[in-house]
């Protein structure tokens, strides 16, 4: 299976400036596990701008197929084949 990952709000800078990634997965992962997977295998730089302890750092929202992950079980949501998962860093500028 594979999932479509999108980064925005500046997070793409941590992943080799890629706003979109197709990530193959050999087994089903929860979102929590997916975050670690991305950090371990795809993150290029400055992990502290992505994670804080064993979670995403504050200020990042995750959206699963156009929905807030809070509405899908958050960390425990089991990622499905061809899911679109967006990691968005909230912007404060204006």
């Amino acid at each position: 299976m594979s999932v479509h990952i999108a980064f925005s709000g500046g997070l793409e800078d941590l992943f080799n400036k890629q706003r979109n990634l197709t990530v193959p997965l050999e087994s089903q992962l929860t979102l929590k596990q997916l975050v670690f997977h991305l950090k371990d295998r795809y993150l290029q730089t400055r992990p502290e701008l992505f994670m804080s302890g064993d979670s995403l750092r504050p200020g990042i929202i995750v959206l699963v197929n156009d929905m807030d992950w809070e509405l899908c079980g958050k960390d425990d949501y089991v990622v499905q084949d061809r899911d679109a998962i967006s990691f968005i860093s909230t912007l404060h500028g204006g």
């Binding site: 709000g9 500046g10 701008l49 968005i88 500028g93 204006g94």
Partner: protein, 272 residues
């Protein structure tokens, strides 16, 4: 609310929007009776204020403690090279009054703080976040919850923008109970912003404000993400009010809350 009457001059001025089915004279009267507080007369505030004034919002409050500088003018189109060193709320007021002499503009040439907001916010119906820093966003969202007023929140940086409406709940703390850590803060002065990007978001904020006043559906519990490089817009469904949100459960008084401590810093001088 006593509904305002429209003069013949106003009916002429607003004719092209009065024609809209969702508007009519009744809609225009609602706009005239409305009081909207805009915090920030910069990148987001420039188009937002111009379109709110153009549309005939009866009373617009503008809060900004900054002064106009040349480095603003690539995006803060409400100001000009003739207004350098003038307070931004005052500079905005000048152009807005020329665009629309019919409306009332109330300016506050200061930074919004927990203390100063007590005498400002209650007089308005809707609050619009048009600032460029994280501290003000939590303060304004908390004020919205505290005074039960909807908050229209926009932001922009580099080529991207974001927009949502806190009605006032769910609020910013429902989404982000912990603020972005200081080491992850990004500012236009460091990483840049393309001028028309806050232009798009500020203009969309004006539209959401108008729809709210007219009683039309707005982006409550929805997040709009905009990427100017690809010209892509995405709408996401957001969570409902968090049962553990300290603001929405009434535990936060924005006039006394220690935002500096919450954000882990002594108060920063807001950037340009």
């Amino acid at each position: 609310m006593v509904e305002a009457e429209l003069s013949p001059a106003e009916i002429e001025r607003y004719h092209r929007q009065i024609l809209l089915r969702e508007f009519g004279l009744e809609g225009q009267k609602k706009l005239k009776s409305a009081k909207v507080l805009v915090i920030g007369a910069g990148g987001l505030g420039s188009p937002l204020l111009l379109y709110l004034a153009g549309a005939g919002i009866g009373t617009i409050g503008i809060v900004d403690g900054d002064v106009v500088e040349t480095i603003n003018l690539h995006r803060q189109i409400i100001h000009s090279s003739n207004n350098l060193k003038i307070n931004k709320a005052e500079s905005a007021r000048r152009l807005l009054q020329e665009l629309n002499p019919e409306i009332k503009l109330e300016i506050y040439t200061q930074w919004l703080t927990g203390e100063s907001s007590a005498s400002i916010v209650p007089g308005y119906d809707i609050i619009v976040i048009a600032t460029d820093n994280v501290e003000s966003r939590y303060l304004i969202s908390d004020l919205g919850v505290y005074y039960k007023k909807p908050v229209i929140s926009g932001s922009a940086l580099r080529w991207e923008g974001q927009l949502t409406v806190f009605s006032p709940s769910p609020c910013i703390r429902c989404l982000f109970p912990q603020p972005t850590p200081r080491h992850a803060w990004s500012k236009a002065s460091d990483i840049g912003v393309l001028g028309p990007i806050p232009g798009v978001i500020g203009t969309l904020q004006a539209i959401e404000t108008i729809k709210l006043i007219l009683g039309l559906p707005v982006l409550s519990r929805k997040l709009l993400m905009y990427d100017g490089l690809s010209c892509q817009f995405k709408l996401f469904q957001l969570r409902d009010t968090s049962p553990t949100c300290p603001a929405c459960s009434g535990q936060i008084n924005p006039h006394t809350f220690n935002y500096a401590e919450f954000l882990g810093q002594i108060p920063a001088i807001p950037s340009i």
